[in-house]
Subunit: 153 residues, 2 copies
DNA sequence: ATGATATTGCAAGTCTATTGCAATTAACAT
DNA sequence: ATGTTAATTGCAATAGACTTGCAATATCAT
C-alpha cells in the first residue's frame, strides 16, 4: 500500500468468496438479492445509499424491493461485511464494503457530490486523550469532510 | 480558558443582548417564539434536536408549533447564532448556541444519550494535508464520537 | 393607532427508514 | 429428486425527521 498518498480510488473487486461462509455461519441464506447488493457494492467506487442501490439494481434489471435493500444492508452490516457511514450532514446512511479495506474517512463535494476516500485517521491518540479526560469508553467515531472538488471550485 | 481539559460542561447563559441586533440587521423580527428558543438553548447543557426543543417548550407552557421550531432554528443558523450539528449516526440534526463558544466536538453515550463537549479539534493540520492531496477545498467537517459514559460502563 | 409584511399555526406532503404479514424460496433431510 | 421447514421477500402500511402552502396573526416602522 502506498502510504505517501492519503486518498485512493476504490480497489478492484475481491470478494464473492468469503461472504457465503459468513452468511451460512450466521444461519442466513445466500440469496439472489444479497448477492446482487454485494456485487454492486464491489463494483462501485463510492459508498452508496439504499436508494442508490435500489435505483442502480433496477437499471441492471435486477428485481428487488427497496425494503429488501434496507434489510440486506442491515444483515451485511451485522455480519461485518459492510460499513454504514454518514457523510457530513447528508441526512442519510451510506454503505460500503469493509472486506479488504482499511479504516478511512471521506470528503464529499457539496456541489456535485463527488466522494473521495481519505486513507487516514488521526484519531488514535485523540481517542486515548478523550477516554482519559472524559472517562467515557470510545466505541466509534464519525469524521467526514465537505468542500469543493477541483472541478467545482 | 482552561487548556488542560478538553471538555467542559456548558457555560452560563450570556446572550439576550446581541441577538436582537442580529435579527433586525437581517430584516427579521424579534418574536416570542424566537426568544423562547434562544432562551432554551442558552439554558440547556446539550445540543438539542427540534423535537426536544418543541417538547421542552411545551413543558414550559410556551405555545409553539414544531414547524415553527424548525423554521426558527433555520433562521438562527442563517444568522450565525446557532450551529447545526449531527452526532454519530443519530439520524437527526441538533442545535446549539454559537455565541461565545469555541469550535468543538462531542461524545455521546450510546446507552443513555449523555453528551459531553470536547473542547478540541485536531483537524487544522489534517485539513491542509487533505487539501494538498485531494485538491478539494475543505469547507467543513463532522467529528463526533460514541461510546459509553462512566455510569453506563 | 394603522398599514405593510414578516411570522406563525395548521394541514398536507416529502424523504428516509422500519414493521407486519402472507407468499416465496433456500437449504436440509429423506 | 421431492418434500419440509424456516429464512427471506414483496407489498402495504407506518414511523420519524423535516419541508411547503396558505390563511390568520403579530411585529414594527410610521
Amino acid at each position: 500500500m502506498v502510504v505517501s498518498s492519503i486518498f485512493e480510488s476504490r480497489r478492484i473487486a475481491v470478494s464473492g468468496l468469503g461472504f457465503k461462509k459468513s452468511l451460512k455461519a450466521a444461519g442466513r441464506r445466500v440469496t439472489r438479492t444479497r448477492q446482487a447488493v454485494l456485487s454492486l457494492l464491489e463494483r462501485t467506487a463510492q459508498p452508496l445509499s439504499a436508494t442508490e442501490i435500489f435505483d442502480q439494481l433496477q437499471q441492471e434489471k435486477v428485481s428487488i424491493d427497496l425494503v429488501t435493500v434496507y434489510r440486506t444492508v442491515h444483515v451485511l452490516k451485522e455480519l461485518g461485511l459492510v460499513a454504514q457511514i454518514e457523510l457530513h450532514q447528508e441526512g442519510q446512511a451510506r454503505f460500503e464494503l469493509k472486506e479488504g479495506r482499511e479504516h478511512h474517512h471521506h470528503i464529499r463535494c457539496q456541489m456535485c457530490g463527488a466522494i473521495v476516500d481519505l486513507l487516514l485517521c488521526p484519531l488514535k491518540k485523540l481517542t486515548k486523550l478523550i477516554e482519559s479526560q472524559t472517562q467515557y469508553i470510545v466505541d466509534d467515531h464519525t469524521l467526514e469532510f465537505t468542500g469543493l472538488c477541483p472541478k467545482c471550485q
